[in-house]
């Protein structure tokens, strides 16, 4: 009887170990996905959305002045409508990528990066401010057009660039070769 109970206990322990091992594997896979997603978000922000030349072009007042000076009212309206679409698209893309980076920092960054508590707090404040700024920008641009709040556009781009720099440090270990291996592992499972 004692032997049977021992066997049952050992069996139960083995089952529990197996279950916890499987849970850990699943977490690791989720982690690799989060890492790749964060890296992609960082690339999109740094190469696609935040380069000062592009931000400068989208919100260039020179274009507005040219259209106001040289064209009719209908063309001016078309111009403002088109630039508004682009400006709103820019903010919404920045917000989406920032949310993706924040997800990485909330869930996975502590497992991979050695950020000090102070940096993590500063980052949390930056994320909160950035998301708030993006929402405010969307409202202002929707109501008053793309040229309504140029300073806020500048400060949003600056905060996003700062967040990208810190995230870059957290993801520095993720070289293309390492990311490729993780991607293959995630694809296989």
């Amino acid at each position: 009887m004692i032997q049977l109970i021992s066997f049952l206990l050992i069996g139960a322990l083995l089952l529990v170990s197996l279950y916890s091992f499987m849970r850990r594997e699943q977490r690791a896979e989720g982690g690799s996905g989060a890492l790749i997603e964060a890296r992609q978000a960082l690339n999109t922000l740094q190469a696609g959305l935040l380069p000062p030349e592009l931000v400068g072009r989208i919100f260039a007042r020179g274009d507005l002045e040219y259209v106001e000076a040289k064209t009719s009212k209908e063309i001016r309206e078309l111009f403002l409508e088109e630039r508004k679409k682009i400006a709103l698209s820019w903010v919404s893309r920045v917000r989406k990528q920032v949310l993706s980076l924040r997800r990485f920092h909330l869930r996975s960054a502590r497992f991979y990066a050695q950020l000090s508590v102070r940096t993590e707090v500063a980052l949390a404040v930056d994320f909160a401010a950035l998301l708030l700024e993006c929402r405010a920008l969307q409202v202002f641009m929707y109501v008053r057009g793309p040229y309504a709040v140029p300073r806020m556009v500048g400060s949003t781009a600056a905060t996003a660039t700062r967040v990208c720099k810190i995230s870059e440090q957290s993801l520095a270990f993720l070289t293309p070769a390492y990311a490729g291996r993780m991607g293959n592992r995630a694809a296989r499972s």
């Binding site: 592009l54 260039a60 259209v67 682009i86 698209s89």
Partner: protein, 144 residues
């Protein structure tokens, strides 16, 4: 290194004939096979290799795209006007074709940043309307 040399060669020989980024963008897009996305240039391929020539042309295409995205609206309108004149098509026919077919949508390099491409398409749209309104003013018709 070979790709860099081939790109320099391309800039010096073929692209120097096109002073405007818009002309270079259209020219390089026309050298790309729609089915494969690969670029072909016999002269460049004979001096280097097909792979190197293709990569060099892709580099120059991306460069022309970046330059065009960086242009002001006024500059883009001037470039379109110049390009339109160089085609020897009647301005009215040219504007109708460009507004209808939007050929600039297939002239951007593969994997261009989507927002930059969206911005350029939008600027093309505005530039076409400005050119059309100028044409109408010259022929005495009301603005678009």
């Amino acid at each position: 290194m070979d790709v860099q040399q081939a790109a320099d060669d391309l800039r010096r020989r073929s692209l120097s004939e096109f002073p405007r980024p818009l002309d270079r963008l259209i020219y390089l897009a026309s050298m790309r096979d729609y089915n494969t996305g690969l670029y072909y240039h016999d002269g460049l391929a004979s001096r280097f290799s097909q792979e190197v020539a293709c990569e060099a042309m892709a580099d120059c295409h991306r460069e022309a795209f970046r330059q065009l995205v960086g242009c002001s609206l006024e500059d883009l309108v001037a470039q379109m006007e110049g390009y339109m004149a160089s085609t020897h098509t009647s301005p009215a026919d040219f504007l109708t074709a460009w507004k209808g077919l939007e050929p600039y949508r297939v002239a951007v390099p593969v994997e261009s940043d989507p927002l930059s491409a969206q911005f350029l398409f939008s600027s093309f749209k505005i530039a076409l309307v400005i050119l059309e309104s100028r044409l109408n003013q010259r022929s005495g018709e009301p603005d678009a």
